[in-house]
Amino acid sequence: MATPYYVPETNVPLPPKGAEVISTACDYCIVACGYKVYRWPVTAKPGGPTADENAFGEDFPVAPLGAWVAPNQHNIVLHKGQPHHVVIIPDKDTQYVNTDGDSSLRGGCIAQKCYNPQTPTRDRLKTPLMRIYGTLMPVPWDLALDVAAEVGNHVIAKHGTNAYGVKTFSYQYIENTYAISKYALRHINTANFTFHDTPSDVTSTPGFRDAGFDNFGPSYEDWRDAETLLVCGTDPYETKTILYTQWMMKGMQNGQKEIYLIPRSSAGVAHAVKMGGLHIDVLPGTDLLVVNAIARVIVENGWEDSDWIKKWVNNKWESSSGFGQGTRNTPWQWRTTWGKFQTKGFEDWKEWLLSQDEFAPETAAEMAEIDVQKIYTAAEWLAKPKADGTRPKTSVMIEKGFYWSNNTGNTQAISALGIICGCGGRPGQVIGRAGGHQRGGVKGGKYPRNKSPEKLPGRRRRAMDTDRYLIAGHTRMAHVIGTTWIQSMCGSQQLADKFEELTVRNPHQIASFDKQEMIDTLKARADSGGMVVINQDIYLQDPIGNRYADIVFPAATWGEEDFLRANGERRLRLYQKFYDAPGAAKPDWWIIAQLAQRMGFDGFDWQNSNEVAEEAVRFTRGSRKDFHAVYRLAKKEGKGLHQKVREFGTDGVQCPVMLDADGVTLIETKRLHDTTRELPDTGAAGADVFNKKLTHFNSQTGKCNIQKSPWGLFSDYWEWLKPNKEEGELWATSGRINERWQSGFDDRRRPYIVQRWPENWVEIHPDDAAERGIESGDYVMVYSERVPGNKTTLLGVEGDDFQFSKLMENGHIELTKAAITAVAMVTPAIKKSVVYMDFLHMQQPANALEGRIVDWISGNYNYKMGVAKLRKLGPSPYKTSFRTMSFAPRDIA
């Protein structure tokens, strides 16, 4: 760990002429800016300040936006066992993504990510570890793998496949996600499987799926080219910086008006408002009301895009035809069978919209505690035709603050608003997610939904809520890959209690030197109702690895192996290996392959990551990141897939990609659902087809489904959760902060970032702070006496059995307490009666406060919904010190 004291350097070595240049992309946010790694041996002379003396061909000092090297962009690594300098800076020549050679603070300092024993990265996991006599001790790979495989096979044989739980990242490179899902889903075939950000393997945006929108259809230039852009539940400046600075800022310079629907202001929101935009500061969970009120104003004025609706929205017969993809047992079908969402087309939807009292602008504004005029202004900007009769080009962007507040309801509502504004299928007129992490998931097996014990009212099963299953004591072996699990999930402290009980407090703990005794002990643990935990990660995370894991596998990561991944506009790049992984650390695909082979599974004998990629690529076919054509072209040219993608450098290739009739020209895809796109008459060549999503929507007819979004499916939870003001409760919500990525696994090891954010903090409005005697820099206790949690895995029979009030009535919800400390930051940037924290501090996890209640339609958590009380504890050291933290507002424009 880094201490919060940071001494900046006042000089930096420059790469010499002849330094090797290796292209890659950033490891962090969805945007995945292109980077160049300059590498040269420490024995070589560094470059000089004139253009003929350095690898950049630049005279120093360089111009603004130039190839400057900040000291945080330099490191020393081992390459083939020999120390080398590396300088890692954004690609200054790229025409895509991070144009102008821009970068965020996160990626800008990515050189600090590299393992270097002289920096705080020194605690990278370097060998497998096993907990023996209560202590995690280094062991060789063979011992750790043999024990894990034996115990795994025992658990599956004795307790069933669902007793083997796999909780994994969904994105940390295609080769790894493919190997992991092939292992878990195709071979073990467990329904106890999910990703880092959800308790159940379900779609993140059910409303988009029903409407026919791909999450990542738009291209970055669409976000620039919109004339009105509605941004829901995110400030892209903070969380996908370059999308904002290189695309949206340029849009605003061209007159784009941005509307933000979010309870909090930060730099990007403030800048947009300064540029003539609008900030609709809704209360958590009230987005649906405001979105539908805006839609109502639009249809009452007749501002909807009638031509678009006529051509691209399903009518009664189209809505019913084959809805649900032909069979009854599909996610689409069961959500719509009650008639709560499905409509007979635009007029039917409009009639429903106008008949809901809570969507009257004054009512919605009152509940959301906003100025009602903002609803009218937003409606005008989004849809009112201009004086010449033309319509504004409108686009809609959503992210987690929005879709993790009322997952199903909000995504249904925004889809309908988007549809009537003509968003979705034309340049600058798009709807999609902005994105969080990059897109590196390829599934090597199908989720066995019919093995999930959760049965919903009606006719189908839902993917297992793996947290609830674990809390019910059914998970006997938890295989955790690259996620903190506990702090990432709602009601974290309740989850931690159960982990503690099933692992540490189980009497069966390894106390032996003998392999067979170790295996027998862990088998006995599982058989006794306890749980065995194996954990793959790059650092030892607390508590999942440090406290609960019996076996820890050290993973190799970015820069330590060749990997493929796509970004938020479906652009696929090769992230190249440029230095040696520390110690015996191995990539996740290798770890899985070793384990799988020991468990007796076939098809895991890959020799390198390119072989994994060449197997995985088949499973991208038909998806938004279909790059099978690149593989076929590579083979035609006698190249490996990685080798071929490497040729594309930081530009990469924008998917889905097809081969033209000539069999050698790649056809990329700028945006999905592009109704203006003309595909070649001759058709795609060879094994390619023109997928429907290229020019139409992902629905049964290729047109959009306009769906209802009833408040009543969520309102009982919202009303129950709503802070009791007399008791001093406030809404507690959370999200990312610009300087930190995910759990801060790298940021905690960057002295400068630790200096900026040594601990979690809580933004509180000055009025709320004054009532509690809290000042910026005070330590506060943020706590709740009512964190609701789903108790047991259950079957729904009646239609409303899973509705929150019904679950409560029937005793399926338990209330627990939670408490975390934080440093107060008093600022009007946060809405009154709301507090905001960093979502994933390992020591002070904000998710502990959020209700562990899945959205009863989709199965996702509504992570952004919780309540808390705040009590002042006393001053923190940061209140009066000058080196650490800053309490200046973050929304200065």
Binding site: P8, F60, V62, N72, D100, H271, R883
Partner: protein, 189 residues
């Protein structure tokens, strides 16, 4: 040492020299024990030898007079030379600030070039927040009361702080803390 630091001393001769060293040491460390942690030097004696060496090559340049500074009205100057990106400001913030000099320890100076991509922070001081920025290029802001730490934005490090000394009423720039944008070494323009 304590008195010299607190008041901006009026020592002269050898006493002045000793005082200056201490001032530099103080500016770098803002707390001697933490500095020992930072560079892993075991003894206080060790620091006193090391620290001045870091700044010994910077010029000592007269940049203003304490009595002429008005609160929240920045004064521009060039440092450590007059080459590219040497534009800097001296400002009396009115609140105690990290590395501040003068009776209120509220006089600080910073380089004016954003350490993200080299935007000029000229004329961006926000007296109500004691912040420089937002940078016109990509909106970074810096807290001048806290050694130029990034408040919000994309910079790779704090804004370089110009280290100051007070000699009577004269304010001298004597060193830099942090690499200036565009340069690979602060002293080579």
């Amino acid at each position: 040492m304590k008195d010299h630091n607190a008041t901006g001393c009026s020592c002269s001769g050898e006493a002045k020299k000793a005082c200056t060293v201490n001032r530099r040491q103080f500016l770098f460390a803002s707390g001697a024990t933490t500095f020992a942690v930072m560079v892993a030097m075991p003894t206080r004696h060790g620091q006193a030898e090391q620290v001045p060496a870091l700044v010994s090559t910077y010029p000592r340049k007269l940049i203003g007079k304490l009595s002429e500074l008005e609160q929240d009205v920045p004064v521009e100057f060039y440092y450590p030379d007059e080459g590219d990106y040497s534009d800097s400001i001296l400002v009396k913030t009115g609140v105690e600030s990290g590395g501040g000099i003068g009776p209120q320890k509220d006089v600080v100076a910073f380089n004016l070039t954003c350490t993200h991509q080299g935007g000029s922070m000229y004329d961006s001081y926000k007296p109500e927040h004691k912040v420089l920025g937002p940078c016109p290029l990509h909106l970074s802001t810096y807290d001048v009361t806290r050694h130029g730490i990034l408040v919000s934005g994309q910079a790779y490090q704090s804004l370089p702080q110009v280290l100051l000394e007070l000699d009577g009423d004269d304010i001298y720039a004597v060193g830099m803390f942090g690499l200036i944008y565009g340069r690979y070494d602060n002293l080579i323009a």
